[in-house]
Symmetry: C2
Subunit: 110 residues, 2 copies
DNA sequence: AATATTAATCGTAATATTGCAATATATAAA
DNA sequence: TTTATATATTGCAATATTACGATTAATATT
């Protein structure tokens, strides 16, 4: 069907999946890395840096913004984007907790 | 197009995206959590636990296996799955490095 | 006001993902 | 050897994602 059955999972599972999904595209990884590198960055610079068309970058920025990982400020005709550090930290917390899980049983593995 | 332009990104960016993508579905998050909880788990138990059809679970397991995050051993008619701890650690390392990035510039944010 | 600049949105084509019924495969048990 | 059990594979329908050209919107500049 192409649509996930989110209702059968916990809120935490769905949230982890949503954050992972938005990082699950190399263009968005590249955008985030660039924003960490430059602190703030105008949309047009990302288009040049990354090499995808302007509407495509704009779409990826929108997804990152929807999840709160970045924020954008209008500056004249350009829009300046940067990491939303507070939300990034929250996401990092959630993902780290998931990644750092330990095997909870001592039964031998297969 | 539906197809990512992976060739314009670095290997690291593509790898991060691939790992994030496979975690980007709540069913796979749930499977991984269950495997951490029980150490090893038979496919059929995951079907019961998670509540998706057997072919669907089987497909998700395949994706996790393709990326090396889990491994499966045949035990009679069942297949026992567990976390591949070595590869999980490598993935964790890569993702943590990405998540723990710090702003590298002191220019003010927008 | 007219024009240039920048980014967002719309529309669309190509492809990927999700989920499951039906079927195939492989081993165990009778 | 037949039958039961467990998992994988196939095929398909519904939906989502990716990418971009064309256009729109919004502000700056002349």
């Amino acid at each position: 069907m192409g649509v996930s059955k989110t209702e059968i999972f916990t809120a935490q599972q769905n949230t982890i999946a949503l954050f992972a999904k938005v990082i699950g595209h190399p263009a968005r990884v590249a955008i985030l890395q660039q924003l960490f590198k430059l602190n703030s960055c105008v949309c047009g610079d990302l288009v040049l840096e990354i090499g995808l068309a302007q509407p495509t970058i704009s779409q990826h920025l929108k997804e990152l913004k929807n999840l709160g990982l970045i924020k954008g400020n209008v500056e004249g005709t350009s829009v300046c984007y940067c990491i939303d550090q507070e939300n990034w930290s929250k996401m990092k917390e959630l993902m780290s907790e998931f990644l750092n899980q330990d095997i909870q049983s001592n039964g031998s593995c297969c």
